[in-house]
């Protein structure tokens, strides 16, 4: 079928982790060797049949894959335009796409003989996913989390503790995800011999952006097959929220060479990208270097990283994965921003129309899908990556309504 023939050749990153001018390895010297070891291990095991078989088995029997692709009929009727399909990553074990990556990286840690896992977390989903796989493999787990995020994600903090992880509050800087990442990097520098750092998104120094992408592309591979099976063709558009960008790249990547599939990344617009209170570096940031990579970042004119704002802790990050920066520059994906208010409205809409509580992160993608559905019209098909479930956010949602749960 013509519709599924690749139309461009896309081969990124290069050997040194560059996506065009983005990506790379911008870290302190101490981390160069562990990163080289990780790169070698990743390159070896991504072609190792035993490793891949174990990964597939874990994804099937532990994570619960494949996740369904669900035609949201009442949501579609409500939007009054294109048919909207939801890729149900919220139904994975631990309730979000994050587990796809932590299962993979934990298997790598095991192969490398590392007994201690560290991770950073914003909304807590990646922290929970890291604590989960650590518990399962009997590894020690330390999760760094900003003090502000600990306050707004109390349930996930408790979940991590139940899973045996140590949650370390981060008090520096803005006390959110970026500071948790700084602290995790500091831990890694001090403990490189026995510690494996599971980065939760497609950011950080090479090989993380490529490796995390490769572990997350299972989302897009399944979606592609499911769309062909359910509709006989590829979708007209794929929509996903972008913080660091792992769920988005995971669903985009298998469609990158299908030029007829439009790709939309939805950033956190906060109070609006014309205010200072947002977290949308691709829409309103500049090119800079943060956390080991070059990409778009939110910064002031002096190159200091800006504090960001989003109602969704998982999107509240001033940087973004380098591959998204590249896809933006070459025009293969479009990036837009959705405000806190619009995301909140989409949260309630999905609850009432489909009986699904989406994560506030994913609600950003849903909000944009509504606009896009009306624009594309009834003949089109849109896939929204429903990257996580919203149980973790009910306190935030209740607070917006003036209710204390």
């Amino acid at each position: 079928m013509n519709a599924v023939e690749p139309s461009v050749n896309y081969r990124y990153p290069d050997a040194r982790g560059h996506f065009g001018p983005y990506g790379g390895t911008f870290v302190a010297e101490t981390l160069m060797r562990p990163l080289a070891e990780l790169r070698d291990a990743y390159q070896k095991y991504m072609h190792d049949e035993d490793f891949l078989a174990q990964l597939d088995a874990d994804l099937a029997h532990y994570v619960g894959r494949p996740s369904p692709l669900y035609f949201a009929e009442r949501l579609t009727d409500h939007f009054g335009g294109a048919r909207v399909f939801l890729k149900r990553e919220d139904l994975n074990h631990t309730g979000a796409h994050k587990i796809n990556n932590t299962v993979g990286q934990a298997l790598l840690a095991q192969r490398l003989g590392k007994r201690r896992i560290i991770a950073e977390t914003g909304a807590g989903q990646h922290g929970v996913a890291s604590a989960t796989v650590s518990a399962r493999l009997g590894l020690d787990c330390v999760v760094y989390m900003g003090r502000e995020d600990i306050k707004r994600q109390a349930i996930n903090v408790y979940r991590m503790k139940l899973l045996g992880a140590e949650v370390v509050p981060v008090e520096s800087g803005s006390k959110t995800l970026k500071d948790a990442l700084n602290e995790a990097l500091r831990d890694w520098v001090a403990n490189v011999e026995d510690t494996f750092y599971i980065i939760g998104t497609v950011a950080g120094p090479h090989p993380y952006p490529a490796m995390v992408r490769d572990f997350q592309t299972v989302i897009g591979r399944e979606t592609r097959g499911q769309m062909l099976a359910q509709t006989g063709g590829l979708p007209d558009a794929v929509v996903a929220c972008v913080g660091g960008g792992s769920n988005a790249i995971g669903i985009f990547y298998p469609f990158i060479e299908d030029a007829q599939v439009a790709l939309y990344g939805v950033e956190a617009g906060g109070d609006g990208i014309d205010t200072m209170r947002h977290a949308a570096p691709l829409c309103a940031g500049k090119v800079g270097v943060l956390h080991g990579q070059r990409s778009y970042v939110m910064e002031d004119e002096d190159g200091q990283i800006s504090a960001t704002h989003s109602i969704s802790a998982g999107l509240d990050y001033p940087g973004v994965g380098p591959e998204h920066a590249w896809l933006k520059d070459v025009g293969r994906a479009s990036y837009v921003a959705v405000t806190d208010a619009a995301a909140m409205e989409a949260f309630h809409l999905l609850a009432r129309k489909e009986g699904i509580l989406p994560a506030l992160e994913s609600a950003h993608a849903l909000a944009y899908a509504g606009e896009l559905a009306r624009e594309l019209g009834r003949d089109a098909n849109i896939v929204v990556n429903l990257s996580g479930r919203g149980d973790k956010d009910i306190h935030t949602v209740a607070a917006q309504q003036g209710i204390t749960v």
């Binding site: 302190a28 010297e29 160069m32 060797r33 080289a36 520096s172 520098v189 080991g292 200091q304």
Partner: protein, 277 residues
């Protein structure tokens, strides 16, 4: 010959390791830094390492992180750091100033403009913590064109192959990070550091300094037996922090500490340079 090379040359004749204290520019306030630099030189510092404040100093421990936060809270920008260097140069044309910072503020300024302005201000070296030589070719060329030595860090985890790459890219001196950890961490393994310095010296003729983990005069004295420069950061910055906004007290306290370090270095059994010559 630049100021860094001249200083090492002169110290080699004196058979003594260089003392290089670190302060963050603008900590606790912009006007405090130049007097502090002069006081450290008077007290026996051979070179000054001057930190460029950054919002996300991922290789620094809490002491230097907080110094960065204090400086940023006072609105200290990269341009202010260079102005501090220029002001220091008015009275002190000889003491090398090595800037240390992270890449993003330099990217925001633009490599070419930064290198030119830093050279004009009288800076002698630049350490960019998160810029390994593989990613730094453009900036390093521009620095050299403006008379600034790109100084690189070597770590305990650096492989022999990378050691050569870094030695080839560096000038001024090599900065050996003496422990696995961030700035200000404790417990230096002196025997291990001594062995590593000897290995590094087989691969470069550049002087080799040691930093990250030298927190008192006794350790400084021991390291001076085999290193060409002793870099002391967090232990200096901690003394500034203890004085709050009392800048004068901070200046006296830091000067006393630098004197103590200098005495210990001089009473060390002689630098590696001396041992070789």
């Amino acid at each position: 010959m630049g100021r860094i090379a001249q200083t090492f040359e002169s110290l080699r004749r004196q058979r003594r390791a260089a003392l290089v204290p670190f302060v963050t520019a603008g900590d606790p306030e912009p006007s405090a830094t130049v007097p502090l630099m002069h006081s450290m030189v008077e007290a026996g510092a051979d070179m000054i390492e001057l930190g460029i404040p950054f919002s996300d100093p991922m290789a620094d421990g809490p002491v230097i992180q907080q110094a960065s936060e204090r400086a940023l809270a006072r609105g200290v920008h990269l341009a202010d750091v260079l102005a501090i260097v220029a002001e220091f140069r008015v009275q002190d044309p000889a003491t090398p100033v090595i800037l240390m910072g992270y890449l993003n503020p330099i990217e925001a300024a633009g490599y070419e403009a930064f290198a030119r302005r830093a050279g004009e201000a009288g800076a002698d070296g630049l350490i960019v913590v998160d810029l390994p030589p593989e990613e730094g070719e453009d900036l390093n060329r521009l620095l050299r064109n403006n008379g600034i030595d790109p100084v690189f860090l070597l770590a305990p985890t650096t492989t022999p192959e990378r050691l050569q790459v870094i030695c080839d890219a560096a000038s001024g001196f090599i900065y050996y990070v003496s422990l696995r950890g961030v700035t200000g961490s404790a417990n230096l393994d002196l025997a291990e550091v001594r062995t590593r310095i000897a290995q590094i010296k087989q691969q470069t003729s550049l002087p080799v300094g040691v930093g990250f983990g030298i927190s008192d005069a006794a350790t400084a004295g021991h390291v001076a037996e085999f290193a060409d420069a002793i870099i002391v950061g967090s232990a200096v910055v901690k003394r500034i922090a203890e004085c709050g906004n009392d800048v004068e007290q901070a200046r006296r306290k830091v000067a006393a500490f630098v004197r103590e370090l200098r005495t210990a270095i001089e009473s060390g059994t002689g630098s590696a340079q001396a041992a070789q010559s």
